[in-house]
């Protein structure tokens, strides 16, 4: 395991120490030592709070997106493991500004159970909350079973757009409606070239040959659509665009944002080569690209690979996407 770390058991806590020390203007622990991060100025009175969370190892997802115009709080688990019910409940309590809480996170078994249970706990404390699940990974289930799909980088659009809606002073019902609308408008697909290593496990999440890639693989190494020889950037981009456009066809004049995302080790140079192809394809279809994102927005530590997310916009979503927002990893 070639990583710069100390005791693997302290990986998450030391990471959060550093994060909060570097950016106190954005991040604050809800309680000393807690794996619960809230906005520096949380709770924001009268604003609907948006809370997310999940396993560590995906920065900027999840914790990185805490900040004005984005998330109010986040519960952080061990690497690739769900946070505890207690942590989620604490994040919701600390983020709640009196207008209720939207739980906005990705569809993974453990996370769903724990967020649901935390929601039930908060209900007993008379804090109303709602759920919106991201299920954007088209490779993880057929369209008929959309609700079974994993949530991946689509989260970035959901945070941004729901966060902007909450900033307008909208109530929980309205923020939830908009969040669900983004979730419905996002489609993602990824391709992995290498695994990564969970510090406590000390060994790679999967094995793959030196000349192989896997199309549609999940961010923790969940099996994809095919495994085979490494293809060219244009071939990979073309196949990913095919999958996205088959699942959510676009017509001339449609407005979309696209996120070309590195899973970690893949450098921006390769992302721009991929973007070039994806943008040309969208132009062919006649779709207009709004605020494209190219970079590391949702990762699996040092995994090499890429994901594409297309978020189809209407006037409401586009306006909210462009609204100001800030965190240590992203500024709009």
């Amino acid at each position: 395991m070639k990583k710069l770390l100390n005791d693997p058991a302290k990986f998450v806590d030391e990471m959060l120490d550093g994060l909060c020390a570097a950016h106190p203007e954005f991040y604050r622990r809800a309680a000393p030592g807690a794996r619960v991060i809230v906005r520096a100025d949380a709770p924001v009175a009268g604003k609907v709070a948006i809370v997310s969370g999940g396993g560590s190892g995906h920065l900027p997802i999840f914790t990185g997106y805490v900040g004005p115009g984005l998330l109010d709080g986040c519960a952080i688990g061990e690497v690739f493991s769900s946070p505890s019910v207690e942590q989620i409940a604490d994040a919701m309590r600390a983020a709640n500004g009196g207008a209720g809480v939207l739980r906005l996170y990705g569809n993974y078994g453990g996370d769903c159970m724990n967020f649901d249970m935390a929601g039930e706990m908060l209900e007993m404390e008379d804090i109303p909350s709602t759920t919106v699940l991201l299920t954007d990974d088209v490779a993880s289930a057929k369209p008929e079973e959309r609700q079974k799909r994993r949530g991946v980088a689509g989260m970035v659009y959901a945070y941004k757009i729901a966060g902007a809606k909450a900033d307008t002073g909208a109530d929980l019902t309205e923020v939830t409606r908009v969040a669900q609308k983004v979730a419905d408008a996002c489609r993602s697909v990824g391709a992995a070239l290498t695994p990564c290593t969970v510090p406590l496990a000390g060994k790679p999440t999967f094995q793959i040959a030196d000349d192989e890639m896997e199309m549609g693989m999940g961010i923790h190494g969940e099996p994809g659509v095919w495994r085979g020889k490494l293809r060219t950037a244009d071939q990979v981009a073309a196949e990913m665009m095919d999958k996205l456009l088959a699942d959510q066809p676009l017509a001339r004049g449609d407005r979309v944002s696209i996120l070309v995302n590195s899973l970690g080790a893949t450098p921006p140079e390769e992302l721009y080569i991929l973007y070039r192809h994806a943008a040309a394809r969208l132009k062919d279809v006649g779709a207009e690209i709004v605020m494209p994102l190219v970079g590391r927005y949702a990762t699996s530590m040092e995994m090499a690979g890429v994901s594409f997310t297309i978020c189809k916009l209407d006037g409401e979503l586009e306006g909210l996407l462009k609204a100001p927002a800030a965190c240590a990893f992203w500024r709009v």
Binding site: F80, G109, N114, A201
Partner: protein, 201 residues
């Protein structure tokens, strides 16, 4: 005789010791097809319950609730949350009472099972702890002494382990290694079997 907070305390002390003892075994089992934390989840959760023992109220429901919270606090992993879910169901069923007759055990298990099914959205037959729980519940039906119940449960879980060994896991982290799980015991079932062991001692 019936289940009381006092019996709960003895039971958890035993279970905690047993979980410490089989921590590595459970981690290894889970490590083969998952993230290898099941032993940690169980031993940390049980230890946290033991920490709370002095504070357990006589109200059986409240006592169950405290044990449930020990698991929601110490683990974010599936098994911890499922156990907490099951214990919370028992808490609701026994709220306001200081004892529950042994004959009520099948009903308590059924309540826990239903809550856990709803929580985890898994079905019987998916090769999870649920299958072991269901078999144990069926086996103790009609028995009202703890020793007899435990013996019946142990035998039923062993039979369930054997019956599922050559089937693939259908939910959870292990699902993605479906083929690899054929021939392997489900870690959650084994964990439940070890809990029964601990209670029997």
């Amino acid at each position: 005789m019936a289940l009381t907070t006092s019996i709960l305390k003895t039971a958890w002390t035993r279970v905690a010791a047993q979980m410490d003892a089989c921590k590595d075994e459970l981690n290894a089992l889970d490590g083969a097809v998952g993230d290898g934390d099941l032993g940690i989840t169980m031993s940390r959760g049980a230890r946290e319950v033991v920490e709370q023992l002095d504070a357990l109220p006589d109200d059986l429901g409240m006592a169950f609730m405290k044990t449930a919270q020990a698991f929601t606090k110490t683990s974010g992993s599936t098994f911890g949350t499922l156990i907490a879910t099951g214990l919370m169901a028992a808490a609701k069923a026994t709220k306001g009472r200081t004892e529950a007759p042994w004959s009520e055990m099948p009903a308590l298990l059924t309540g826990a099972l239903d809550a856990m099914k709803a929580r985890g959205k898994a079905e019987l037959g998916d090769k999870t702890v649920l299958d072991a729980l269901a078999a144990a519940r069926d086996a103790i039906q009609g028995k009202d002494d703890p020793a007899g119940q435990l013996a019946a449960a142990a035998a039923a879980v062993d039979a369930t382990l054997a019956a599922f060994r050559d089937k693939p896991n259908k939910v959870g982290r292990a699902r993605i290694f479906a083929e690899k799980t054929v021939g392997l015991d489900d870690p959650g079932m084994v964990a439940f079997r070890r809990v029964v062991d601990g209670l029997t001692k």
